[in-house]
């Protein structure tokens, strides 16, 4: 048989064969594609970015200081209704509420993000080991039973009461017991995945525990962790607001959304705008973060990338 002139040899291209066997898939690209397919999520994302930017930039420009009451003796600058000059009006001592609200938003956002970071980091690390080690489980489950049984609000108030008012105390109060529910949440997930066949195989092949956690289990948990974060941030905002409202939150030196609400409640009849603006901002933050977080959690689950 002679060589057929109609055919030519081609080089074996290793990369092309890879390409054919596994379709092009990038995890993060899929996450973003999935995320940006939801119009509500995009809108909420824009909203939260605007709020965060305002909260970071505006206090820098205005230099708002909650203790600065320079207009306190000037009756004409008190209780001004919202106008172009004072977008959100002024309060009982003549402070511009637009500045106050953004300064307060910064404090509240900072407190809730910090508390979420603490809760998530401690919760995930502890939850991982808790889920893996049966010996640890025996002790931890008892600690969990003790802590989880105490009403959260009670814990927050007691801690703020004993440590006094302040930002660090607030973050501590909000995160000091919540980490254990995050850890418990992670523990349950780890226990489900731990005994799956691929992990069993991995263990048989001698993978160390630390590598099993970081390579086999953590990627699987990203959507779970995202869900937990998206629930935590709004709930911490909410906690900050009501702790400050009850008078056990931050001290006078900080403006926060909760403190603004607490100060405004007295004037609910005469100057309702004082109450409305901080509440609307707090509600927008919570709702948008929650929806963005939930969508992101859905998008970060690889199982939703199939289609």
């Amino acid at each position: 048989m002679t060589q057929d002139s109609r055919f030519t040899f081609v080089k074996v291209d290793e990369s092309a064969s890879e390409h054919i066997a596994a379709p092009q898939y990038s995890y993060w690209k899929s996450v973003f594609r999935r995320f940006f397919s939801s119009k509500v999520a995009i809108f909420m994302l824009v909203l939260i970015i605007v709020i965060i930017l305002m909260a970071i930039i505006h206090p820098m420009i205005s230099g708002y200081d909650n203790l600065n009451m320079e207009n306190i003796n000037d009756p004409t600058s008190r209780f001004l209704r919202p106008s172009l000059e004072h977008l959100f009006g002024t309060d009982s001592v003549g402070r511009d509420q637009f500045n106050a609200v953004w300064s307060g938003t910064r404090t509240s956002l900072f407190a809730s993000f910090a508390a979420t970071a603490v809760t998530t980091i401690i919760g995930v690390i502890v939850g991982m080991f808790w889920g893996f080690s049966k010996r640890l489980d025996v002790i931890m489950i008892e600690i969990y039973n003790v802590i989880a049984n105490i009403p959260y609000t009670l814990v927050c108030m007691l801690i703020m009461y004993t440590f006094g008012a302040g930002l660090v105390q607030l973050i501590f109060a909000m995160s000091c017991t919540t980490w254990i529910s995050t850890a418990y949440f992670i523990r349950v997930q780890v226990m489900i995945i731990r005994d799956r066949d691929y992990n069993l195989a991995s263990r048989c092949l001698g993978t160390p525990m630390s590598k099993m956690i970081t390579h086999n289990i953590l990627p699987y948990l990203i959507s779970v962790i995202m869900t937990s974060i998206s629930r935590d941030v709004p709930s911490f905002i909410s906690s900050e607001v009501f702790l400050s409202y009850l008078g056990v939150g931050l001290g006078q030196s900080y403006a926060s959304l909760g403190r603004l609400v607490q100060d405004a409640v007295k004037y609910i009849q005469s100057a309702p705008y004082l109450l409305i603006f901080p509440l609307v901002v707090a509600a927008s933050i919570s709702v948008s973060l929650y929806i963005v977080g939930q969508t992101l959690a859905d998008a970060s689950d690889p199982r939703t990338h199939m289609i």
């Binding site: 009670l154 007691l158 004993t162 709004p234 909410s238 409640v265 509600a283 709702v287 929650y290």
Partner: protein
């Protein structure tokens, strides 16, 4: 199973013990004692050594330290009381040394008769022993349960009485027709008694003692404050032990022994059991919180069950999408924002702004707080009902039921619901508790005189005993509710075994 329940109860008691002990240690060691007196008007009026005496005396009452005045020390450790009471005498200094050796701190108080003239001064000593955290915790738990006994009066007030009281128990019916076990010589006259009020049999033998409230309602036991009625005193016509019949707010079955009664009390109570709690027209703090809690709980289940079920039934349809939006909105909205928003809407319907405006007797006072409480716990319950129902509807037995030709409605209501409701049942006792703790905000916003408002209020004025009392009550209730939830679950679904069988 019995063994399991026993272990669970023991564990629950341990967790209550742990939580309250930690809170005690935190409050007593970390809050500066000066904060306790900041809100006390009586302390602010005092100055000099009077203020110091008052301060140590109050701190002793609150359990911070053991305070001894010269009088106490001389009575306890000296044979020659008169010599001991002379300041800086030999006997006086010897007694002081005894206490100093025991670990007491001695303070020398000099009081000038005339501020300008320093030569004429009276010297007095005061000794105090500061408890450490462990002693405070120990003292709290050992004093918590107070059991009444017939020797109480003679042992406690022996010196103040002209003659000892007769010590005896007897069964009897009093002048108002209340039957029960009475006691002479106990703290309470009525030990066990039966009357027409729920739960019909009452006792005064074992009481929980959390100390007295301070600085608000100073001197009244904290338990009494949260459990006695509120509002105006409610007088009824009743006969007193002396035979006099008159209208009075006293509840005679709660009377305690009064060591030094005045003439008016003696006229009504010749046996000196004259320290009575009064009846009030409005329910107590605990009752108020519970009325709101239970009412809102019923409302939540009435709304969430049918709504959640129909959401699961029509998954992906309009009602489901609408429900999911509502759930997400309610979960993410800060509760305070929700409360004020609903309050604002309510004002258009003539709902009162604050609870005390119309008070306990007007139904309008209740509507708005109950709706708000319900809406606060509604979204999570609805979400879980939907979740469980949807999960169950993929199960094999549902496919089997479909194959056998059952209608969709029949499957949902007869088969899926029964299985999906099991985890919901587990949460019912828990949500009773959640109502109370969630009511912190609602009660504060509406100024409802309940337990939820009491906690932030007492925190603001540094009312430590009240904070601990409420912590104890709330912790106990929530621990119990988890236990009851688990037990209720096994009743609803006999397949569930709480106790683990075999190894692993």
């Amino acid at each position: 199973m019995k063994k399991y329940i026993l272990i669970r109860i023991l564990k629950s008691i341990v967790s209550i013990f742990m939580v309250v002990s930690i809170v005690l240690a935190m409050i007593y060691t970390m809050i500066p004692t000066t904060k306790v007196f900041e809100q006390d008007p009586a302390f602010r009026r005092l100055s000099g050594s009077d203020a110091i005496f008052y301060r140590y005396n109050k701190l002793d009452e609150l359990g911070y330290l053991d305070n001894m005045t010269m009088d106490d020390m001389c009575r306890e450790s000296s044979d020659d009381y008169a010599a001991c009471m002379i300041s800086d005498s030999e006997e006086n200094l010897r007694v002081l040394q005894v206490y100093e050796d025991k670990g007491y701190t001695i303070e020398r108080l000099v009081k000038y008769q005339n501020p300008d003239d320093t030569s004429e001064a009276t010297v007095d000593y005061i000794a105090h022993y500061d408890y450490n955290a462990f002693q405070i915790i120990f003292n709290f738990w050992t004093n918590l349960v107070r059991v009444d006994n017939s020797g109480f009066v003679n042992n406690t007030y022996g010196k103040k009485l002209s003659e000892p009281v007769e010590e005896r128990y007897y069964f009897g019916t009093d002048q108002n027709g209340v039957t029960g076990l009475m006691c002479s010589g106990c703290r309470y006259k009525y030990q066990i008694y039966f009357d027409g009020n729920f739960p019909f049999i009452h006792q005064n033998i074992i009481k929980l003692n959390f100390g007295n409230s301070f600085p608000t309602n100073a001197g009244v036991p904290t338990m009494e404050i949260i459990s006695r009625g509120q509002g105006e005193q409610a007088s009824t016509e009743q006969t007193f032990p002396s035979g006099i019949t008159q209208t009075s707010p006293y509840i005679q079955t709660t009377c305690e022994f009064m060591p030094t009664p005045d003439q008016a009390s003696l006229r009504l109570f010749p046996d000196q059991y004259a320290d009575c709690i009064s009846a009030y027209t409005s329910p107590s703090m605990i009752m108020t919180s519970y009325i709101f809690g239970i009412a809102s709980l019923i409302l939540v289940y009435v709304i969430a069950l049918p709504f959640g079920i129909s959401m699961a039934q029509h998954k992906g349809k309009l009602i489901d999408k609408f429900g999911v939006v509502v759930i997400n909105l309610l979960i993410s909205l800060p509760s305070l924002a929700l409360i004020f928003f609903l309050k604002y809407i309510g004002s258009f319907f003539g709902m009162p702004d604050k609870f005390p405006q119309l008070g306990f007797n007007d139904i309008k006072s209740y509507i708005l707080p109950i709706i708000i409480l319900a809406l606060l716990s509604l979204p999570s319950l609805m979400m879980w009902i939907r979740r469980y129902m949807v999960d169950q509807s993929n199960a094999d037995y549902v496919k089997f039921a479909k194959a056998k030709g059952l209608s969709q409605k029949e499957i949902f209501h007869k088969h899926i619901l029964k299985n999906a409701i099991i985890p919901i049942v587990n949460g019912i006792p828990g949500s009773v508790i959640l109502c109370i703790s969630g009511a912190f905000i609602t009660e504060s916003v509406f100024a409802i005189p309940g337990m939820g408002k009491m906690l932030p209020d007492s925190i603001k004025v540094a009312n430590n005993n009240m904070v601990i009392t409420i912590t104890f009550i709330l912790t106990t209730l929530s621990v119990l509710s988890v236990l009851l939830g688990d037990l209720l679950m096994t009743v609803v679904d006999p397949r569930i075994q709480l106790s683990a069988k075999g190894g692993d």
